[in-house]
């Protein structure tokens, strides 16, 4: 696994955990324990996304960290290299 792969896997794992918690919270909005777990994952995610985007290009169009429009850079998610 390349460094890019490993970083992207960590990011994807956290994003998925957050998505799963989101739909749990939709039907359990008063669950404070789950809400704080969500916040913890969000704070773990943030530095990883920053690190990834600086090295390998944008994951979203927000907070472009570089001088070029890295959004267009290959690979795209459906490419084998993604």
């Amino acid at each position: 696994m390349t460094e890019r792969d490993m970083l992207l896997k960590k990011i994807g794992t956290l994003k998925f955990a957050i998505t799963d918690i989101d739909i749990f919270l939709d039907t359990h909005p008063g669950d404070t324990e789950m809400l704080s777990l969500r916040n913890q994952y969000e704070s773990e995610l943030k530095p990883l996304v920053e690190k990834f985007e600086k090295q390998f290009g944008a994951l979203t169009k927000r907070d472009n960290q570089t001088n070029t429009w890295t959004w267009v850079k290959d690979p795209w998610p459906w490419d084998m290299e993604a």
């Binding site: 994003k15 998925f16 998505t19 749990f24 939709d26 039907t27 979203t60 169009k61 959004w71 998610p77």
Partner: protein
Amino acid sequence: MFVYEKQLQYPVRIKNPNPALAKIIADQYGGPDGELGASMRYLSQRFSMPLPELKATLTDIGTEELNHLEMIGAIIYQLTRNVSEEELKKAGLDAYFVAHTTGVYPASAAGVPWNAFSIAVKGDPITDLHESLAAEQKARTTYDNILRYCDDPDVIDPIRFLRAREVVHYQRFGENLRLLTDKLDSKNFYAFNPAFDKKCFKKK
């Protein structure tokens, strides 16, 4: 509003092309119980939902289904990469090829283009939630049937992930139905439309 993130919800990396497998997995792209229909169903049903929890659930699950549509598209794309016209014909994809080459088009495994008749938006939350619950089970059954034909771990892995999401979504829609009936007059759960007949809610 929707914002795109340049990453699949779960990685798809298939080393060996297999157009015959792509042909059947296409059912979850544009078939009657596929991810396109799932997303359109929930994102449309949410407008007439009477409770905030239900609006949130349908919005978030409807959005997650777009992630799944993208994953299925990636699976089909990778399974048909660098495949010759002879191999496509052998896999029964010559009729598809003549219209779409190896582009990813929303149609069922049997070649029927995606159709909004395969979803329902009744504007009645009880009816719509039952439709959504059934839809999750129909998709789960389709994934189980796809898995019966899969022997490539690169394909089995993301398909199992998608199958597991159907089970979680079923649980959440079940909770939605309960949240709703808890607010209704228990004598008349199924006799009224809670989006239209406001009298069916419990008196405060």
